[in-house]
Amino acid sequence: DVKVTQSSRYLVKRTGEKVFLECVQDMDHENMFWYRQDPGLGLRLIYFSYDVKMKEKGDIPEGYSVSREKKERFSLILESASTNQTSMYLCASSLSRDKIVRPFFGQGTRLTVV
């Protein structure tokens, strides 16, 4: 089965710190995504990537950047963490050529910025 692994389940960081959230998938998927989950808002797309070194902004990219140097790894970067970035972050991946389209998700990282 497909495995999407996020490096941390819980993180606590200080305001102004540079924060890296890492995501790795093991099924050679072209597409990778970072979503943010907040109560009452569902999941919102931050950034996505459809190939190595390719990235596109999602609906809420402000304050974030991403890196995809290898196909299996997609990193979300908070350049200077702020308290309003306290949230749950979910990574997902999917295969472009898949006849049965179905994104797979990691287990989530709950980030608290203090």
């Binding site: 597409n31 808002l41 569902g42 459809y50 749950m88 999917s94 998700f105 287990q107």
Partner: protein
């Protein structure tokens, strides 16, 4: 831009009952996919069921079925013979047929199954 609306923030039913979760969406696309994901307390997002818009037949997966009304842009999830393990957040999501497989999610419905 597409939007997805889940109008029931919370629902609660007794074990073995049938429950229906509502979802409406707005799009100008003709071909697309719709999904229901389950998120239990473990936080792992689990795909429950998917529907291709070009298929008129409603998708079913064991105790889970959907009522897909394309003209009304409605996509409800029915859970039959509910079990305690069905307790979770449920998210409805839209994906355009063409493009980068981005999901647009609803706000979520917290479902509690009581013993």
């Amino acid at each position: 831009a597409q939007t997805v609306t889940q109008s029931q923030p919370e629902m609660s039913v007794q074990e073995a009952e049938t429950v229906t979760l509502s979802c409406t969406y707005d799009t100008s696309e003709n071909n697309y996919y719709l999904f229901w994901y389950k998120q239990p307390p473990s936080r792992q997002m689990i795909l429950v069921i998917r529907q291709e818009a070009y298929k008129q037949q409603n998708a079913t997966e064991n105790r889970f079925s959907v009522n897909f009304q394309k003209a009304a842009k409605s996509f409800s999830l029915k859970i039959s013979d509910s079990q305690l393990g069905d307790t979770a957040m449920y998210f409805c999501a839209f994906m355009a047929f063409q493009g980068a497989q981005k999901l647009v999610f609803g706000q979520g419905t917290r479902l509690t199954i009581n013993p």
